[in-house]
């Protein structure tokens, strides 16, 4: 099938960008969306043109590297799927598809569809860790954790940090990401000694990076490829209130 792409092309962070139209012929339904872009790039390279820059790594939905907004939807039209898990069987011959980068002040465009998401790394580094002495592996059963709590923590820890929540949010807020990271520690005994310090530092770092405020639109949850629930944002708000009222 033939697909018409409207792709955001931008030389660098400071250059103005624009949507450029490309026709991609010979697309087969088994191709992933990224493989379709690969096919386009092979052609562009053969023609001596600059290929479209986009991010990807594992291409099996676990690394959080791919990050496209396809027809106005972060990671495309599928539920709980990353861009690399989107396949061309979703489209029909002659479809016109618009591809844009994740847009947020905190995620500056590097080139074309590539954005710099290191803001997430800095937010994580502000408090998204547990301070423990490493050394010999401790007895796995020394700290008992109720199964349902462990499950909730694991659900929060499923966040791959792709940034789709920011891309989908009308306010470019990073609340779902921060909520997932705060929750995965707050739910486990190992994370509790530093819970107040963590939530205050991560919220502070989040605002510093220029992400917007949460207005509870829940587009983040709808866009999240890992199904992170907004109940984590409620937990983040609880943790924050608790820390703001009790920490010294």
């Amino acid at each position: 099938m033939n697909i018409t792409l409207k792709v955001w092309r931008q030389k660098n962070a400071d250059a103005p960008g624009a949507l450029v139209e490309y026709n991609v012929a010979g697309v087969v339904p088994e191709m992933s969306f990224l493989e379709m872009l690969d096919a386009l790039n092979e052609r562009l390279v053969a023609e001596g043109q600059d290929p479209v820059a986009f991010d990807s790594d594992c291409r099996e939905g676990i690394c959080g590297m791919c990050d496209l907004v396809i027809d106005g939807q972060a990671h495309g039209p599928d539920k709980e799927a990353t861009t690399c898990q989107l396949h061309m069987r979703r489209y029909r011959d002659g479809d016109v598809v618009t591809v844009e980068p994740f847009r947020a002040k905190a995620f500056p465009i590097v080139k074309d569809l590539c954005v710099d998401r290191s803001a997430f790394d800095r937010v994580q580094a502000a408090g998204g860790f547990v301070s423990i002495n490493t050394g010999n592996a401790v007895d796995g059963n020394a700290i008992l954790i109720p199964h349902d709590e462990a499950e909730k923590a694991m659900d929060a820890a499923a966040c791959i940090g792709c940034g789709a929540c920011v891309a989908a949010c009308p306010n470019a807020s990073a609340m779902l990401f921060v909520a997932a990271k705060v929750s995965q520690y707050a739910l486990l005994p190992q994370g509790r000694p530093e819970r107040e310090k963590r939530v205050l530092a991560m919220r502070e770092a989040m605002d510093q990076e220029g992400f917007g405020h949460c207005t509870n639109e829940y587009e983040c949850e709808a866009a999240c490829p890992k199904g992170i629930k907004v109940s984590n944002i409620a937990r983040l708000n609880r943790e924050y209130l608790r820390a703001a009222l009790t920490s010294d």
Binding site: Q73, E100, R103, K105, G210, G212, H213, C214, A222, N237
Partner: protein, 210 residues
């Protein structure tokens, strides 16, 4: 803070509505209620508190909106989302502005008597304004805005306070929607009844006001 002020304002709305619904009990009951309220020595204090809540709610919302707009300097050429937004959530700024305009008109006409319709009692004063179909229609439109604003605001405040329970949160959210709808229905019933229904009855059947 936006949520806290918003919830307190909801409390005011509920109390205000209950008082207003006394209009259905006739002029005597409504006027007696208004008299009692006006002579309550705590009224100025409540008014100051109310204004403070509104100012706080508005300033912080505007500030958040400015920050949120700045968080995405260049918008999407195509933005569709995945259907989580609601008509209420999309229009918070619009309905908020509508409510502010309405409150200014509302306080100017009913409290400070702009337009000079003040009669011997408040009941007649209100009926005088509702007799103007434009005023009554604007009133309905504005309380519709209040309902839409609350349809997002109520559940949003619940989330902001960190309330999250697999069974009770959906119930609370439904209750929030119900509250928004009741507030709309309650306030809209007054201009609709006194401005349109009763007026038509009066003209066509020769019936008198209660």
């Amino acid at each position: 803070m936006v949520a806290a002020a918003g919830l307190l304002l909801c409390g005011f709305l509920a109390a205000h509505l209950l008082g207003n619904l006394l209009m259905f009990a006739g002029g005597g009951a409504f006027n007696a209620y208004a008299e009692a309220l006006e002579h309550n020595p705590l009224l100025p204090l409540a008014e100051i508190g109310l204004v403070a809540l509104f100012v706080l709610h508005i300033i912080l919302s505007v500030r958040a909106t400015v920050i949120n707009r700045a968080a995405r300097p260049e918008g999407y050429r195509v933005y569709r989302g995945k259907g989580a937004r609601t008509p209420g959530s999309r229009t918070m700024a619009l309905t908020g502005t509508l409510i502010l305009v309405f409150i200014v008109v509302h306080v100017a006409t009913f409290k400070f008597d702009l337009g000079g319709l003040k009669g011997p009692d408040l009941y007649g004063h209100v009926l005088g304004w509702f007799a103007n179909p434009w005023y009554a229609a604007f009133y309905v439109l504005a309380v519709g805005g209040v309902g839409l604003h609350l349809s997002h605001g109520a559940q949003s405040a619940i989330q902001t306070f960190g309330v999250s329970h697999p069974r009770y949160t959906p119930l609370l959210k439904t209750a929030g929607l119900g509250f928004a709808f009741l507030i709309f229905l309650g306030f809209a019933s007054l201009p609709v009844y006194f401005g349109f229904v009763q007026k038509r009855q009066a003209c066509c059947t020769g019936g008198a006001h209660s």
